[in-house]
Amino acid sequence: MRPVRLLDFTFLGFLFLAFHVTATPALAAPGSITSVRRDVVVSQDLPGRVVAVLADVRIAGRVSGDVIVWGGNVSFAPGGAVAGDLVVFGGNVELPEGRTVPPVEGRVSTPGSLLHLYLSEMRRAPWEESAFGGSVLSGLHLIALAAWLAVALALLWFFSSPLSRAAMLAGEDWSGSLLAGALGVLTLFLAAGAALSLLPAPLGIPIALASAAVAVVAKVFGMAALFLLLGQKLVKSVAPARRPAALAAGFAVLGGISLLPFVGALVWSVASIVAVGVAFVSRFGTPRYRLAI
């Protein structure tokens, strides 16, 4: 069977276009507001829901449905309330003065941040974050790093050969991995964006989720390979027996740098892009040739 090639994305593109021509345009439900790249102000009671993408939302009236915001902030004016759920991806919730709890009858969720949930579990409001100093943030960061190392170790345990092959290929061609990573991330992002924009939701959402899943799996595998490669250079050995120690050494360096302010986030982001490239270039460490014995 012929393997699926990246060139097939071209044909997928034409499929998107065909669907776009035939798909019915998305219409917001009556009484609802949907906005892209334009801020929304709800100044009077709204019977439906509010959806905003890359836009801020200010609520000064009562919204009967959910308020869902992607890439924007939500602020409440006095008298503003939400009867449904309030979901904010990649943004903050600002409360009116004098209030400690958002005027929301349903759930308030900012899925991009575990910190707020942790603070609420500790019976601390998010605005008390500063009172905790940096220790809570640093603690969560270290626990996240420990999870990274645990996953990398599990990958090395089960897939030591593919991981070593990916690390070797990355070491032979750094620039190729970086380029493949940048192109891979952009391609997956655009594929998800095009699917969500042009296809009907029942088709577009699974494609977008599949793109995200590929990106996450590629990043996790590639980061483990990067830890290994970096460690092998540090311990100056590529022997199988030294692989676990090399993985630990590589992780210690990258994880340590990630704790630095600004520089850490930058280095980790670049490493993530390279990691996706390492996974793609090595095809997740599959051998170049297979021998039939």
Binding site: T34, I68, R107, E121, S135, L196, S197, A239, G255
Partner: protein, 196 residues
């Protein structure tokens, strides 16, 4: 030949054969000098390595004649085979190999928990030291469960809302669609070049 009561770990046999430091038993080399069975293991490991090196050397004239790298085994085959080989069942279960990352992982996780516990330990309203230390750990577990549950519960609605929003602004989709073919072609070329 009498069976050895303390047979060499295969990884130590490989290390001694290659002239490297043994990992599991530091006295592997001296033990093998006195034990014919273990000496045989080292000889076998060296023979495999030399056989692979022999294959590499045999391919070198072909490469020099311009036959290309695909005509025979690559130079440095023994090193590549050793570098890429999978862990054996025994290596997976030899803690000596894994102790560095396991200890580092435990250290990082405990440091993180200690940092989370610090504000609770210094709080004036704490009931007892044990309860204060346990509170952040329990809170972390609860928040992780809540985070996952919220994400799973809200993801369908949120994605549907994102799709609705993006379909209202068709330019985003058209721009993505136009950029997708050149980018995917570029990616295909980069991957193909790397695999050559």
């Amino acid at each position: 030949m009498r069976p050895c009561p303390r047979p060499l770990d295969p990884i130590d046999a490989e290390a001694v054969a290659a002239g490297a430091e043994p990992l599991v038993a530091p006295d592997a080399a001296s033990h093998a000098r006195e034990c014919p069975g273990c000496q045989a293991m080292i000889v076998a490991a060296r023979a495999v390595s030399e056989a692979l090196e022999g294959l590499s050397e045999a391919s070198e004239p072909l490469l020099l004649e311009g036959a290309g790298p695909a005509a025979g085994p690559a130079i440095g085959l023994a090193e590549r085979v050793t570098r890429l080989r999978s862990f054996s069942w025994r290596e997976r279960r030899t803690y000596a190999l894994w102790n560095a990352p396991v200890l580092l992982n435990a250290g990082v996780a405990l440091s993180g928990l200690a940092l989370l516990t610090l504000p609770a330990l210094t709080a004036s309203e704490q009931v007892s030291l044990g309860a204060a230390a346990a509170a952040p750990i329990l809170a972390l577990a609860r928040s992780a469960v809540r985070w996952t549950a919220d994400l799973l519960r809200l993801a369908p609605t949120a994605l549907e809302a994102l799709s609705e929003g993006m379909r209202q602004d068709g330019t985003l989709g058209i721009v993505a669609l136009l950029l997708l073919p050149p980018l995917s072609l570029g990616l295909a070329r980069v991957v193909a070049r790397a695999r050559r």
